[in-house]
């Protein structure tokens, strides 16, 4: 009986709905998820100069580090990092205009682009550093506009953006299921990153459904949630060395 009150309270607050499971052991670091995310979500191409200054816009990135001292250097497993869709997100309370809010229906952190005034407080307060800011109006020369996803807003300068768990796909699937008078089936749709992953290292689904694939995988004992000690209640589980 060594359950602390805070843990009980946190587990009650954690009403996650959608989540990701990422298996770092099978991730090859091919960056297909990064490309797919950029295509799906109309990310801007910032150009060579801004990219060189570290302003390239990605909602998902593959992190990799060297471990140890030369010559015994080894690479850490690839670590795809995106918005963890925290249950108690540090980015939310600090926005002065409610541009970053929690969706009760989806249990996701939403970014309301047309409400954002660009104080960038949310990005400072994000422990995962997964928010991207539109430092400029980036050009999208012909024929690039032809590949824009009509379901996703394009963002202008001065606005913060981040991973949405492909909320447009969630809504599409929900609308489809509603029209057919049924519930959304697990695996019926997935996010762009998970869809593009050739190794199936990224799995998307309902974390509140104990039968779903993410829940089943998530119950494996060696899963970790990043910076969990901060009490952010992230909805992405990582597996490494299993």
């Amino acid at each position: 009986m060594d359950i602390k009150i805070s843990e009980v309270k946190l587990s009650e607050e954690q009403a996650g709905k959608w989540g990701l499971v990422i298996d770092q052991d099978i991730c090859t670091g091919c960056q297909a998820c990064v490309a797919a995310c950029a295509m799906e979500n109309n990310l801007s191409f910032v150009g060579e100069e801004d990219s060189g200054y570290g302003r390239s816009m990605h909602w998902i990135r593959i992190e990799r580090f060297w471990e140890g001292e030369y010559p015994e250097v080894k690479m850490t497993p690839n670590q795809p990092m995106m918005c963890q869709q925290c249950g108690s997100a540090p980015c939310e309370p600090v926005c002065p205009v409610f541009a970053t809010v929690h969706s009760e229906a989806e249990q996701l952190n939403l970014q309301v682009y047309n409400r954002c005034v660009g104080t960038r407080y949310c990005a400072n307060n994000c422990p995962y550093q997964v928010r991207s800011f539109n430092w400029r109006d980036y050009e999208r020369p012909e024929p690039l506009p032809n590949q824009l996803n009509p379901d996703v807003t394009v963002r202008r300068r001065g606005v913060m953006e981040k991973c949405t768990f492909c909320i447009q796909r969630i809504h599409q699937a929900q609308d489809q299921a509603k029209a057919e008078g049924r519930e959304v089936v697990d695996g019926e749709f997935t996010t762009a990153c998970a869809q593009a992953c050739p190794a199936s290292a990224i799995i998307f689904g309902r974390v509140d459904d104990p039968e779903s694939l993410v829940s089943q995988l998530g119950r494996r004992s060696h899963g970790v949630k990043h910076l969990e000690e901060l009490g952010t209640l992230p909805n992405v589980t990582y597996f490494k060395g299993g």
Binding site: P90, P96, C116, T119, R120, Y121, N125, N134, R157
Partner: protein, 475 residues
């Protein structure tokens, strides 16, 4: 014979006291009024040369550069992941800090009846208002979509959208607006008798200008009573406002989850830091005013530099105490990321800044200001004040962009390189001096009535052979 010598010495002592203290060296009221009016009217070509240069810097640095940034986006600035906040926020905190000195001098010293404050309360209050103007510029520059900044205000709208009062930035907006409004009113109240004086001694457009500002003040007993009551209320009420403003500014950082920011002592630490840079700025302004404006050597004397120098020394010690406290507890806490950050502060690529900060904020003030002669010399305290301001700017730079450069996600670590922030920052500085210079031509920089009131209250009395300074309560 011996008695005669003694007498001569006494006479000399009295003369010495008069020369030293403005309060014991009264001039006829008409003459003093004329001196202040003259200082306002006498404008050399040098003034206009500096004025024109500053106007050009303001036009280019502040307005043109800002226009470019609004049109192009914040990409022209150096802010970047992970240092999303850069020099804009450094300057905001810096200017709000400068603005604290005015209130400290004119309100705290007024309620504690510190007599030396009398000739320079207005010079300090002007810094408050103009400093807050620059802070406002800096924070609006920082916004990605500044044209929508009114969304931070609680205004009625059809969609019932309100600002998020959970956000420290909303508290900031409320606190800074309150401070700007109340400090402007508090600047205006003691100004009324002086602009009335100026109105009675002016012609032409100046007369119209002062007539409007003076609100028909004639100096009757009833008007003075009302004015005194109002000033008394404001002097007391503005003190908690002043403390709250910089505490709330510090909460922008302390309420965040970042290592190095999440410190419970940031509130008082920031308030003391604000006073530190503010007092340094006051003493710089006084040295310049004394050196460049006519008749100011009578009003601003070494005794004033001496008194402010003492305050600076005490504030420097208090700042050092809070700095140590903040550092000590964070370091002892042993959190991995905090320890890494503290190491980064001292030994990182910008480590020199950390040492310069401590030298300018602590070592130099302590080494210089203990000496009465040194702290009475305008150019010495001017230099110390300048160094303190550089040191305090570095302190904010260390807290904001340098602390943001590293975080819990080592993959994103990156140093901050300022871009258009530099001309914009210089622009705010130029605009501050420009506003100050313009004000020095338009309103009496010396609160004449306050000086005269003080001189009436002070008297040199003789008890036996002793010359004693007595102060009577006028109010």
């Amino acid at each position: 014979m011996a008695e005669k010598k003694n007498h001569a010495e006494h006479a000399h002592g009295e003369e010495h006291l008069r020369k030293k203290h403005l309060m014991l060296d009264p001039l006829p009221r008409g003459q003093m009024n004329a001196m202040v009016m003259e200082s306002m009217h006498t404008t050399s070509w040098k003034f206009w040369a500096v004025f024109g240069l500053l106007a050009a810097i303001t036009a280019y640095g502040l307005f043109y550069s800002w226009g470019v940034m609004i049109a192009e986006g914040l990409g022209v600035a150096g802010v970047n992941r992970p240092a999303y906040w850069g020099i804009f926020l450094v300057n905001t905190v810096f200017w709000i800090g400068i603005s604290h000195a005015g209130t400290f001098i004119s309100a705290i010293l007024r309620v504690f009846k510190a007599e030396f404050r009398r000739p320079f309360t207005r010079a300090a209050e002007l810094m408050t208002t103009f400093g807050l103007v620059q802070a406002g510029f800096s924070i609006f520059m920082h916004m990605g979509r500044v044209w929508l900044s009114y969304w931070l205000m609680p205004y009625p709208n059809q969609r019932m959208l309100w600002p998020n009062l959970h956000s420290p930035l909303s508290w900031d907006l409320l606190a800074i607006t309150t401070y700007l409004l109340s400090s402007t009113m508090y600047l205006f109240l003691p100004l009324i008798p002086d602009v009335a004086m100026a109105r009675d001694r002016s012609t032409g457009w100046r007369k119209t200008f002062y007539k409007i500002l003076a609100l028909g003040f004639r100096g009757t007993e009833g008007e003075w009573t009302h004015l005194r009551n109002a000033m008394n209320i404001f002097a007391w009420a503005i003190i908690p406002v002043m403390f709250s403003v910089h505490t709330i500014v510090s909460w922008d950082f302390a309420a965040a989850t970042r290592p190095g920011w999440n410190s419970t002592i940031f509130g008082p630490y920031f308030v003391v830091g604000a006073l530190h840079s503010g007092m340094g700025a006051v003493i710089m302004v006084l040295a310049i005013v004394r050196g460049t404006m006519k008749n100011m050597k009578y009003f601003i004397r070494p005794e004033h530099f001496e008194a402010i120098g003492k305050l600076m020394l005490i504030i420097s010690m208090t700042w050092a105490y809070f700095f140590f406290n903040d550092y000590m507890v964070q370091w002892y806490g042993g959190d991995k990321w905090t320890k890494q950050l503290l190491h980064f502060h001292e030994a990182g690529p910008m480590g020199w800044m950390w040492f310069v900060m401590l030298i300018f904020n602590v070592a130099i003030p302590w080494a210089v200001l203990w000496n009465r002669k040194w702290r009475s010399t305008p150019w010495i305290v001017f230099t110390v004040g300048l160094l303190i301001n550089v040191g305090m700017w570095f302190e904010r730079y260390i807290i904001i962009p340098i602390s943001l450069s590293i975080n819990r996600m080592p993959f994103t670590w990156r140093l901050y390189q300022p871009g258009i922030e530099i001309p914009l920052g210089i622009g705010t500085l130029a605009f501050f001096i420009l506003l100050y210079m313009a004000a020095s031509r338009l309103i009496p920089l010396i609160p004449v009535w306050e000086v005269q009131e003080g001189q009436m209250a002070h008297e040199l009395k003789k008890y036996g052979r002793e010359t004693v300074v007595t102060v009577s309560e006028l109010e």
